[in-house]
Amino acid sequence: MAKKDLEEIIAQEPFFRGLNADFCKTIARCGKHVRFDKGQIIYRQGDPADTFYVIRHGYVALEFPGGGRAMVHQTLHDGDLANAEWLVAPYRCLWDARAVAATVAIALDAACLRGKCDDDHDLGYELMKRFVPLVVERLSHAKLQALDVYGEGSTT
């Protein structure tokens, strides 16, 4: 698919909503379409976080590997982002990502995008305005999960 198509798709993704056309074009230059089969590992814990993904259609599980029994702590669906670790040094994936169903996504080259953000701080700021709320939201969800509100002792 041509970069122009990718640019239009990026502009329509909820996460990038409101970005101007030049920024969408710049981001599209770092992107490509990817497809994952059911069960395919997208990345593993400890891998370089050199790509992040905007899930267009599909279903991805984020898992903690270990003890022969992976534990899923979050699932991602249409419009969600995978691998926010691309933003923070040392740029390593914190857990495994596995396609639970056939998944179509936009893969964005993190090194390419980090370079463009260094060159154009306005672009960097626009992306930070979108990523920081996402990270805060996920932190809040993780805290709620850690509280184990439905756990032992709960009578409702």
Partner: protein, 281 residues
Amino acid sequence: MAKSPLPADPMLPRRFRVVENTRETVDTYTFSIAAMDGVSEFSFAPGQFNMLYLFGYGEVPISICGDPAQPGLLVHTVRATGSVTQAFASLKAGDMIGVRGPFGSSWPVAAAEGGDVLIVAGGLGLAPLRSAIYRLLAREGRYRRIVILYGARSPDTILFAEELKRWRDQPGISCDITVDYADANWQGRVGVITQLIAQAEFDPQQVVALICGPEIMMRFSVAALKSLGVSDASIHVSLERSMKCALGHCGHCQFGPLFVCKDGPVLPYDQIATLLGVAEL
């Protein structure tokens, strides 16, 4: 929030026989009971609770989770967390218990007619909402959309799993489940219930939201609904406090100017929003 008349002598338990006791999860049981005093009917409104007395052990408040269209059979779901509820878990068909009730306010299912209804249940909080769901499904044509969202700790703690599947397959009903964590065999969603709220299809201006679950979960759910534009008056929650007499006399369940047993347990959020912010309550 609707009020129902109190039973004739609200302090006198009626004797009931256990018809069936079914294990739902590792520590949760659903048992159905029928009256022994020749009175076959036991009318209740969805959201109300009974005081269940296991002779020799004690009395506990438990929401009614059966079908209000079948008043001859009372159904309750209990999580075995204390000495009395653990004893309830071991009940067998034919055993006798005492019942006082029904008490308290109910879910505003009639007031929701004409608009969307959003059910938000967490953990065992699905039980007090199940009666409301039965009533809603019986009158399905009167609502624009019925959306059921359920959050549980893990797949093996999902309550009423077979019914949730049936509701999900029912035309006109949307039913989504999420769990806080799972192993890789789980094919459903993992994440907190507020994520389901953000993605659910309903009109924030024309919805009545019914929420029941642990208080922290309800607070987060209310915040998620308010961020979408749902008004405080359209949100109803079922509160849990230590209830003893169930008549507003003993004061154990006092919540500011309210008694949860008598004024609640179902309360509109606009009536309690300020009270929930008071740390001492």
